[in-house]
Symmetry: C2
DNA sequence: TGTACATCAGTGAACGCGCGTTCACTGATGTAC
DNA sequence: TGTACATCAGTGAACGCGCGTTCACTGATGTAC
């Protein structure tokens, strides 16, 4: 039952999309090839018609999911769409929303995959490092303007984003045990990242 | 070959200590009971004389390793030992040092275990949530003083610590692919967390 | 354009392997008398 | 204090299970003529 090229390629993308969500939810090692293929609507044997190995899929997914996160960030903070300050605040609020905390499969892949990537090698790490570079560049562009040079804007971006992924990680880790504590973390980090003082020169030289 | 109670307890603690390091390096799922016991100098069968299950050990290790991190933080930032500002800066520098990045087994357990804990339940999550609460309380105490109320000091602590674990996670993820980028992340986050403006009112109301 | 054949996406059984856990066994330690 | 017996930390083989990967097979699609 050979399929048309178009159909086969669509099926491949379906596997990548499903894996993009499931890898974020359960980690690279938390979901098997068989479960993954079943979630995409196939039996497991056909996996190797599309990918050389599970690690090959991980690299593809990492590329795909980070590129989409960057595109999403650029779209939501396009300076033609409103005041930079407002757009940035809305992005941060969305990033740290309870919905994002409770649905890692649809939220920022950097907060989840940064740990999974540690124990991988080669192409997966490369895809992550390059994807993170691109994302941070977009994040620096999205920051509200202050009088500063390019280097210190980048430094601000890195420090602010570190707080976002660290805050999300902590909020997720304690959410089921202590919902109030989890919400407090989200609030504190959100306020700090949006506050003028953090935006101003935290991270500057 | 029954052992004395003291010897048996010492062996148990040895397993917990070894696991504390290995779980941080490879994650809860990244090391098997057999490897763990071998690293501690035993064969795997005896594991269940000390622990009801691997999850039982995870909970023990989480408690142990977070308590030690908190004790270590309190010791290094004891206000009798110097100016709070200096002690805090030294702690941050140590936290983000390349040595800490490259040896997660001996570095902060919160940055590594916050992800592993997500996919666990019950006692492991409880141990982490309680350990994190205690650690953040100590972290708030360690922050240099500014004129502020207790709530905003806690908010500062949470936001600053979020940046530390997020920065460490990113720096680790890209270290092998882009050493300069990794170092840049550590530098930017360190500067931001130590800077007066971040210490001042980022995260305040 | 029609036809014959090679290609290949998908199926589902099977592979070797490592996992967490259990088990029978050993023999020094702890304890009841 | 001495003795007989129960206890239990450690050993290493074995368990069932799920993993990533391979394989023979099917049959519609793609292609060479």
């Amino acid at each position: 039952m050979r399929l048309t090229k178009e159909r086969a390629e669509a099926n491949r993308q379906r596997i990548v999309a499903e894996a993009g969500q499931l890898f974020r939810e359960r980690g690279f090692d938390g979901i098997s090839v068989a479960e993954l293929m079943q979630a995409a609507g196939f039996t497991h044997g056909g996996f190797y018609n599309h990918f050389a190995s599970k690690a090959d899929l991980m690299a593809d997914v990492t590329r795909d999911v980070l590129a989409k996160a960057t595109a999403n960030l650029l779209r939501l903070t396009d300076p033609n769409e409103g005041r930079k300050e407002d757009l940035f605040a809305v992005y941060v609020d969305m990033y740290l929303a309870p919905a994002a905390r409770d649905n890692p499969g649809r939220a920022c892949p950097i907060s989840t995959l940064s740990q999974d990537v540690l124990r991988q090698e080669g192409e997966v790490k490369r895809a992550f490092a390059q994807g993170l570079e691109a994302y941070l560049e977009a994040f620096a562009k999205a920051l509200p303007d202050v009088t500063e040079d390019r280097a210190s804007r980048r430094a601000r971006a890195i420090a602010a984003f570190a707080a976002l992924i660290g805050g999300l990680a902590m909020a997720r880790a304690v959410a089921s045990e202590n919902e109030a504590f989890s919400q407090e973390i989200l609030d504190c980090v959100g306020a700090a990242v949006k506050s003028p003082s953090c935006r101003n020169d935290a991270g500057g030289r």
